[in-house]
Amino acid sequence: MSQQAPLSSVNDFVVRFANVNGSGSASANELFARAVLRHGVPVSPRNIFPSNIQGLPTWYEVRVTEAGHLGARGGGTDLMVAMNPQTWDNDVAGIVPGGYLFYDSTKPMPSSKFRDDVTVIGVPLTAITNSTYSDPRQRQLFKNIIYLGALSALLDMDPKLIEQLIGEQYKGKEKLLSSNVHALHLGRDWALQNLKCPIGLRIRKADKVGDRIFIEGNNAAALGAVYGGATVCAWYPITPSSSLAEAFTNHCKKLRHDPDTGRAKYAIVQAEDELASIGMVVGASWNGARAFTTTSGPGVSLMTEFIGLSYFAEIPAVIMNVQRAGPSTGMPTRTQQCDLIACAYASHGDTKHVLLFPEDPAEAFEFAAAAFDLAERLQTTIFLMLDLDIGMNQRLCRPLKWDDAKQYDRGKVMTADMLEEGRDFGRYLDVDGDGIPFRTYPGTHPTKGSYFTRGTSRDRYARYSEEGAVYADNVQRLLRKFQTAQDMVPRPLQANAAKPTKYGVIYFGSTAPAMDEAIGLLEARGHQLDRLRIRAFPFHSSVASFIAEHDFVYVVEQNRDAQLRQLIVNENGIDPVRLVPILHYDGTPITAQFIAASIGTHQDQIKVTPLRKAVS
């Protein structure tokens, strides 16, 4: 065996399951993650599913982290559960020295297929399965539960907690329940009898999960749309956003049918393309319903003509963009924060749009619901900027909360009564100085309040006009409206370092957990940083003041072109030298190690030659 001592760690390691897609492994793997949670130990799992690689591989990586670091750890796998022969070589190579390799030892493998610096754990999974089950489908499914059973012994997990989970999952389906528990013990007993259990990696009960929930961002955003009162959803399938529309459909089926008539209080249309999706959203919103679409980068590109119409004709629209690596088809199943510029300035002509940046599913829920209030208040497009990392992975987050006293903000809508009272209605008239005009819904009043909606220039009373002054008056008001938005969107959140510091860091969205962890690593290296998490565009004034208060500010993001930094420089007139880009864009989720190493290197240089002097 190896010269390398086997890894030894309690509640802090990474397990990676390498599976073949469609083998039913997903639910067993999720069961593993949830079982660890039931031990009171946080986990952060990630699905990795390349879009076009032979052997249909999928990986499920579970970071077990008592310290609660929910970002990806990076740096190899501690325990590889290698169930996919096609990816075997890479999987074995991805184990850290001293790590463990768990595999199906039914068929003998040549020794060249192994490494001598990892502990090899062979369990004859196929043999055990085949001697117990004859039905091919059962064989496939229970094999997964059998490996879970074996792992529970190897990692010293409490089998009662797993049984409990299985019990909840198959409540009322006694046969399935008992056969799953049986399979679990088949694997567990085999491991206890034949292997040295536990190994160096262990799960020990802790109390670090609290009341947190475990949910995918797309699912949470879909619930946000239900709670936010969305009634029309039009969408076109695209990874990684499809599961959002599907989750909305499922929630609506349960929560949105009239108990008496059984009829639907929603309409969901799978459109023919993204042009039609956004068209339906615009049409429904124009007519006073709360409507949204879900998409990803290529879909946003197709929607841009309509987004300009929404901006200029002032029609609410909510677009949930679950970002993936672009441009073009890019890496369609990999994560990035790469559509900031595309969304902030989507469409031709002078346009600007509101973007919301949730950090996790809990915020995805809140911001999704808030997006509908904002869209109707501001009468424009609101982008909810998710990404694959938040959207398609279960993340531990605070429970979802709703204030039952909350009413929807339907914005400035002139009613038949208001018109009857003789209120002056100018569709594009800035009555309150906030740039936001009143609108009327079609069909409101027989003789008052109708107007012609168009993407063409018009005056304050919606009358067609190509007068330069009239056009300018209108687009300046739109700018005023955008300024109004600054104070309506979620504010940035600041967290200061323990000691006063001249250095700051700005970040957003799914970078948050890695950033939180990186701060600890940087502090250990003696670097103090104040943090500002941006949660929306347009930027609140506190962004500019945060930058003003620090000599240098790192801007951490997951794209090549420093898109957030560009937006800050552009919109706030900041000297670019003051903003140091920290960029991660290989399609994997950003890690604390990466952030700490990149910022640490810069900080070390500053310590050698103060940059302030160097540039002045």
Binding site: N287, L309, H445, Y464
Partner: protein, 351 residues
């Protein structure tokens, strides 16, 4: 165009409909189209149809794409909300609007470029879904607004004003609409108001996807010899298969021809369509027969007009989606938001 307010004065003896509205109440702004443009005649027919049906103008949503044709909703029903959307995308906007409020009447106005070229996909899909609407294409075979390029409905062999011969095959929107399941399909001619007005009336009263292709000559760019969409050509080749009368309420049925040739069709809302046969062979309830008939006659250079197909038992997208009767845009938090107690249960299931 500048805004011209029309004089409000109305002659006391002017004709009123059941709601007490006169024609004037169904008019819009003054048209800015070329004098003699076929589209203006269609506007007049829409006004006439809405007047005759005693529709409350503000209960109509007029939605169009981009083009000369798509400008026309500004020229009728001045008290309705109108929406001039983007080129070729009227169908999706109309679909969304319809989902938001099932109680309004949806009138989609489009051009042949708008619906057969850039918006061919949206046209097809709105029809497929059975959106409850009256979808009118003002078909002139050219892009009027961008100055006379061929559109996808231009016939093969027809000549442009500049003398170029079209070599591409035409798209027959009526044929496509039939194939995609439209439940009310008609073709008419802007120059034949007598035929067109009742066809529009029937479409408005129809529950489901009603499609009307109206040949509407472009005076400026497609009314010359060699064009197959000119006034003269259409008059010469018009092959009307039937004449329609829409009977509402208790109108007595006047039959001034051989009674055997009149067929009464009752639609969902109780309105009756009186169809007087011109072509004895033509059966407007036979979708397949209609498609064959159209193709045969097109091959002979004839333009078949009339109510070509109707399914009086049709239903619409709302019935497919089983939505509540109350318009979705009128549902509030109490109807839509499940509240914290449900969220507590959801949270509990996620631990």
């Amino acid at each position: 165009m500048t805004y011209i307010a029309k004089p409000k004065f109305q002659h006391p003896g002017i004709k009123k409909n059941a709601l007490g509205y006169s024609h004037r109440d169904y008019e819009g702004k003054i048209s800015t189209l070329c004098a003699g443009c076929g589209h203006d005649s269609i506007t007049a027919s829409i006004i006439e149809a809405c007047f005759e049906l005693s529709i409350e103008p503000h209960r109509v949503a007029k939605i169009s794409g981009i083009g000369c044709s798509s400008k026309t909703p500004d020229y009728f029903l001045g008290n309705s909300h109108g929406f001039n959307t983007v080129h070729g995308r009227m169908p999706s906007v109309l679909t969304g609007a319809n989902l938001a409020n099932r109680e309004l009447i949806y009138l989609g106005v489009s051009g042949d470029g708008d619906s057969a070229s850039i918006g061919f996909g949206q046209f097809a899909h709105a029809i497929r879904r059975g959106v409850n609407m009256t979808y009118i294409v003002e078909n002139n075979g050219v892009y009027g607004l961008t100055k006379g390029q061929f559109s996808a409905t231009a016939d093969r062999g027809s000549k442009s004003k500049k003398g170029v011969t079209n070599t591409d095959n035409p798209i027959d929107l009526v044929g496509i609409a039939l194939q995609l399941g439209a439940t009310y399909v008609a073709r008419s001619f802007s120059g034949d108001k007598k035929q067109l007005v009742p066809i529009i009336e029937g479409a408005i009263r129809h529950k489901g996807a009603a499609f009307i292709d109206v040949i509407s000559p472009c005076i400026a760019f497609n009314n010359h010899a060699g064009s197959t969409k000119s006034f003269d050509y259409v008059r010469e080749h018009n092959d009307a298969v039937n004449r329609l009368d829409v009977l509402t309420g208790r109108d007595p049925i006047e039959i001034d021809q051989d009674p055997g040739t009149v067929q009464i069709v009752e639609q969902h809302d109780g309105s009756r369509l009186a169809l007087r046969k011109i072509d004895a062979d033509y059966d407007p309830h036979d979708r397949l027969g209609a498609m064959t008939f159209l193709q045969k006659h097109a091959a002979q250079g004839q333009i078949v007009t009339g109510l070509l197909y109707v399914d009086p038992e049709a239903d619409d997208l709302h019935s497919h989606l089983n939505t509540v009767e109350r318009p979705l845009n009128r549902l509030g938090a109490a109807d839509l938001c499940p509240g914290q107690s449900v969220l507590d249960k959801i949270n509990a299931s996620l631990r």
